[in-house]
Amino acid sequence: MATMAQAIRMALHYGETHLGVTDVFGEDVGPPLGGVFTASQGLKTAWNSPLDERGIIGTAIGLALAGQRPVAEIQFGDYIFNTIDLLKLAGNTCWASMGQYNLPMVVTTIVGAGIHGSIYHSHSFESMAAHIPGWKIVLPSRPIDAYGLMISAIKDNNPTMYMYPKALIRVKGKDLIPGEPADERELKKMIDAPPGPTLYDIIDVRSRWEPQWPEGLTDYQVPIGKARIHREGADISVITYARHVFLAEKAAEILKEENGIDVEIVDMRTLYPWDRETVFNSIRKTGRCLVLNEDTPVCNFGEHILRTIVDECFYELTAKPRLLAGVDVPGVGLHPAYEEASVPQINDIVRELRGICGEEP
């Protein structure tokens, strides 16, 4: 099965050949590298930008104003924070112009910890992003969702922030993307650019390389605004996304085994506008909930979810709802002891879930 990087690459290929994508650009996004996480290898519209995030976002806005459909990459979510004013402008363009201009642009960026990225390659961005009105925001956890959400993001006529988790970028999916060859080695041979020991070798070998795109790719979409139940359960709902879907899954197995507690896991997929119905239905069913993510905890996106749950489901809750997020420190430190104590781990999730389920109202 495709990895998330391959899924994104195929969706971008579909976008540039079928959906009018004109530019896929950013730092090291074009040849020879095709993105530091390989998500834009072999694309005919991919190009290398200057090392300048403000220029990348600004140019994406300008291209969209001119009727193009750009997909702009910020190499790491950690480096998007010098563009917040521009993101705000992109988000208010339609509203401030009374609907005259809308911006069909996608910004992609990789987020989160889990690869020993130290202080500046571990950042989350969802809490700040969701605070900026006018954007749609997605953050898939599985290759198939990564594909389907990219197609939806490209088709959407609004600025869309497409984040994806560093820790899952090379993880293979369990579901075949429509059109994807069943044999993953074949896929690799078709669309992964050949490696080389140094940049010089890579430049050399790739100058003669052309991808062979699978022919049956479709416009398979995951609609923006639709969550999914990753695991059904009766006793408590975990509302989460990205990497923590799978950490929650491991925790759920432990709880099943050791406590007989049946955990439901909601993978939000879209963070804005989010799927209130799926989230509320799950919580109404279980009466308990844990909101889970790895961003820092003050003005955390999960606090927004939690507040909304209190608003909508307060009298249906049988235990107080909780947030488990990253700790309130200025960065994720390099040594694993730092990272493990900063970002929710399986044990932490187990402990929180047990706590909530053990609570007497």
């Binding site: 200057p50 403000r54 140019t59 001119a66 004013d85 112009s97 809308n102």
Partner: protein, 321 residues
């Protein structure tokens, strides 16, 4: 420049001036909350509008204006009532439905992209439209305007850099209207270069510094600059020294500056045309009175137009599907 054009420019300058003066008055009454605009930049801004290629799409010019381009919009053909609508924040304001400050234009039909209050961000955005035009071909160009103080922002460098990338030099006309102030801060206190153009030259972009209070000099320089961008498909930088006749904005009163301290390009032009016997001595007084009355009448009409309501707040957060 023929006689007809000279008078046309004069007429447009008077029209723009009267519109702005009406708005200054509005800002001192209950008709408007805040004014800032381009009184003192008309000699440059009118030729800019006249020479541009107005229309929709990549074959026409894209405009990334700042908040002193009212005269350019007039020269492009804007009905001044539209600007009064914005000033009076009517829901009929065609630019922002009463949401934004005056002089914050948006007109998609003319490629006028949204004027934003954030100084200099237009310099990071403009390479986007210009890049689309470069790829498209034709002779449409992107025009971006800004003040002198704003060039201190990093976005200025961003824009200059992105317009000079190898194989992607962009048909982008950079225009600095240098009035020697940023709000209260004099140019000489915060710029170590005689002209901002000195910095721009380092990028390999052709530059020119002109007297923006002179209509003919402005017209000719703009023509040359636009021709260059249109045919060479490369960037050009023009710095026009201009006046700021009503101060920065209504926050500091918007009063007319003391006589003689800053040249008034309108009177410079009138004097020239009178001396050249292109117009009669009383031409201006008549025209000015008529335009003043016209703006008053337009405002009276605009006042009757509906205001936004609470329900309008949620319109257009997202694009219609």
């Amino acid at each position: 420049m023929d006689k007809e054009l000279k008078v046309k420019i004069l007429d447009l300058m008077i029209e723009a001036r009267c519109m702005e003066e009406r708005m200054v008055k509005m800002s001192k009454s209950t008709d408007g909350f805040f004014w800032l605009g381009g009184v003192g930049e008309e000699a440059f801004n009118v030729p800019l509008g006249l020479l541009a290629k107005r229309g929709h799409g990549l074959d026409y010019d894209f405009f990334h204006f700042h908040y002193r381009n009212g005269a350019t919009m007039i020269a492009l053909g804007m009905d001044p009532a539209d600007e009064l609508r914005q000033m009076h924040n009517r829901v009929t304001d065609p630019f922002s439905g009463g949401r934004n400050f005056c002089n914050h234009y948006v007109r998609k039909a003319w490629n006028v992209v949204p004027v934003t209050s954030t100084i200099q961000t237009q310099c990071s955005v403009a390479p986007g439209t210009a890049r689309a035009q470069k790829r498209h071909g034709g002779d449409g160009i992107t025009i971006v305007t800004f003040g002198d103080a704003g060039t201190a922002e990093g976005d200025f460098h961003v824009g200059l850099n992105w317009s000079t990338l190898p194989k992607w030099e962009l048909p982008l006309l950079w225009i600095c209207t240098n009035n020697a102030y940023g709000i209260s801060t004099p140019y000489d206190e915060v710029h170590g270069q005689e002209h901002i153009a000195n910095i721009v030259a380092g990028y390999g972009i052709p530059t020119k510094v002109i007297n923006g209070n002179d209509v003919e000099e402005s017209y000719n320089a703009l023509k040359e600059a636009m021709d260059y961008c249109r045919t060479e498909r490369k960037p050009y930088y023009l710095e026009a020294m201009v006046s700021r006749l009503h101060g920065h904005s209504s926050s500091s009163g918007a009063n007319r500056v003391p006589d003689g301290l800053e040249a008034d390009p309108l009177f410079v032009w009138i004097d020239r045309l009178v001396a050249e016997e292109v117009i009669e001595k009383d031409y201006f007084d008549k025209k000015y009175a008529a335009e003043t009355q016209r703006m008053k009448d337009l405002l009276a009409e605009v006042r009757k137009e509906p205001a936004p309501t609470a329900a309008d707040v949620f319109k257009h957060i997202y694009a219609e599907a």
